[in-house]
Subunit: 123 residues, 2 copies
Amino acid sequence: MKTEEPLIESWRNLLSQYSRVAHELDRALQAEHCLTMSDFEVLDRLIAADGCKARIHDLVGDLHLSQSASSRAVARLEKCGLVERAMCDTDRRGVFVTATDRGRDLHDAARQTQLAVLQKHLA
Amino acid sequence: MKTEEPLIESWRNLLSQYSRVAHELDRALQAEHCLTMSDFEVLDRLIAADGCKARIHDLVGDLHLSQSASSRAVARLEKCGLVERAMCDTDRRGVFVTATDRGRDLHDAARQTQLAVLQKHLA
DNA sequence: GGGCAATAAATTCACTTGCATATTCTGCTG
DNA sequence: CAGCAGAATATGCAAGTGAATTTATTGCCC
């Protein structure tokens, strides 16, 4: 099996490593915490933000998700009581999202799951 | 910004590199050849197979796609006339998929697109 | 040979996604 | 200050996805 293009070879490696880990992560987070990988990512960025609080607009940039997908991920988290929306006083177009206590707790737990999966499939 | 867990750091890098390249690839293949990244992958594996012919079952293993998604990708390619299905004589549960001439031509063209994108976003 | 677990593929279903659009609000500009 | 381009979200829609199920067929064991 010759390796015609090293570039294609790299891409295939990237693709299969990503697929393997992403699939496992998604499965584990879903099974143990009812969270999508995307949901977890949103929660994770939120927790990392100053005061566990950020505007959706600012989250989108980090998320590898479109604006609409991000908006809906926040909606899902809100429905689960992991996050709260609040009007932004200074700009009423904006929406602040804050992690609730349950959100923080779940994040702590999910983070352990994430680490375990990464340890196993990315190490 | 401290880097608490190198493992998480690696995962983030993997994720963002993958997202960037995959998004570009998908966009370019769609725009220039009306092909999904998955469609192209199926076609690509098929062309690589002996005689441009393979059973769906055998393709699935390489594809990073579920069996159902693979089945549908083949259906899409067939609808576009890039691929043909044929009963498998020795096992009538199986289905052989063969690339048509148009399929081979489109693959050649799409491969150039792929290389260009990889060159630009993975180099 | 008849029955039955296992296999290949297709299909149903619930869900997520991105694009395009609608809605609400801000900040200029005249 | 009226009007209007542009920004921040939400939503309608079409499409793709995986898990589970269905359908057809095979191969084995009695």
